[in-house]
């Protein structure tokens, strides 16, 4: 019984639906996290590890579920980021349950145009 309780107290985690897009300036991650507020969203960068955790408050619902399709639990995703990402240029925004994470690419890694000189 004790063990069962322990298991139940652990909230379930699953990956959010994600778009990953890269252009010259940044890698942009868009994640769908309905029900996550600014206060419950935790984004952490630890060396090469990018951890995104969107917590959802499990509210006590009074009454009986007739339809239950919404998955219960938190959103959790880990990504490994390489040296091309500038750790100081990571920005995150949340709007209407949609999280946008912009990982800026280092200046030195951006493609440069080399002008050809004609003598």
């Amino acid at each position: 019984m004790e063990k069962k309780k322990e298991l139940e107290s652990k909230t379930r985690r699953f990956h959010p639906s994600t778009d990953i897009y890269q252009d010259e300036d940044a890698v942009v991650l868009t994640m769908e996290m309905p029900g996550v507020t600014k206060e419950n969203l935790h984004i952490k960068v630890d060396k090469d590890l990018l951890v995104i955790h969107g917590g959802r408050a499990t509210e006590e619902t009074e009454g009986q579920f007739r339809i239950r399709e919404i998955r219960q639990g938190d959103f959790y995703q880990e990504y490994t980021i390489d040296d091309t990402i500038d750790r100081d240029k990571i920005e995150a925004t949340i709007k209407n349950g949609l999280v946008t994470l912009r990982l800026g690419v280092k200046e030195s890694e951006k493609p440069r145009k080399i002008t050809v000189q004609v003598n």
Partner: protein, 152 residues
């Protein structure tokens, strides 16, 4: 409401764990990161919903991440609740490339037949943090009433 055999939720049910395991494995096969299309008339993609029957009202919750008020249309006609809208992809000039594309876009529709006890004039809908909550109060006469027992 049908009469259902009483089950003590506090009693440990040895089959519950097994059922949970089965459900979770089934979830793995069924979950395709896309809203499911279920029902006869819901041919479009349909977002996930919860329907809770409470004592004084019914609550419908619907996951609509990234949608704004203008994108969502909630209507009711003769006890059929329709949630519809469209989610347009951000159509900027995209020069880069996608590594992963799991977020769907397009129009969706979901219809739910409501019990006749819903008071359709007092429906309240709220969109917050990508979750649409619709509160449907019960008609006054269908609310459970306390009947006092007199002892002589």
């Amino acid at each position: 409401m049908a009469i259902v055999k009483w089950k003590n939720p506090k009693l440990y049910d040895p089959w519950a764990d097994l059922k949970n395991l089965q459900n979770e494995i089934n979830d793995l096969f069924n979950y395709d990161r896309m809203p499911s299309s279920t029902g006869l008339f819901d041919r479009n993609v349909t977002p996930a919903i919860d329907f809770v029957e409470g004592e004084n009202d019914y609550t419908v919750k619907c996951e609509l991440p990234g949608l704004e008020q203008k994108d969502v249309d909630v209507s009711i006609a003769s006890n059929v609740l329709t949630i519809k809208g469209s989610k347009e992809e951000n159509r900027e000039e995209k020069k880069g490339k996608y590594y992963k594309k799991e977020i769907w876009s397009g129009s969706f529709q979901r219809t739910i037949s409501l019990p006749s006890s819903v008071d359709s004039s007092k429906i309240f809908a709220l969109l917050k943090d990508g979750v649409l909550s619709i509160t449907l109060p019960r008609k006054e006469e269908t609310k459970p009433k306390q009947i006092s027992v007199n002892v002589k």
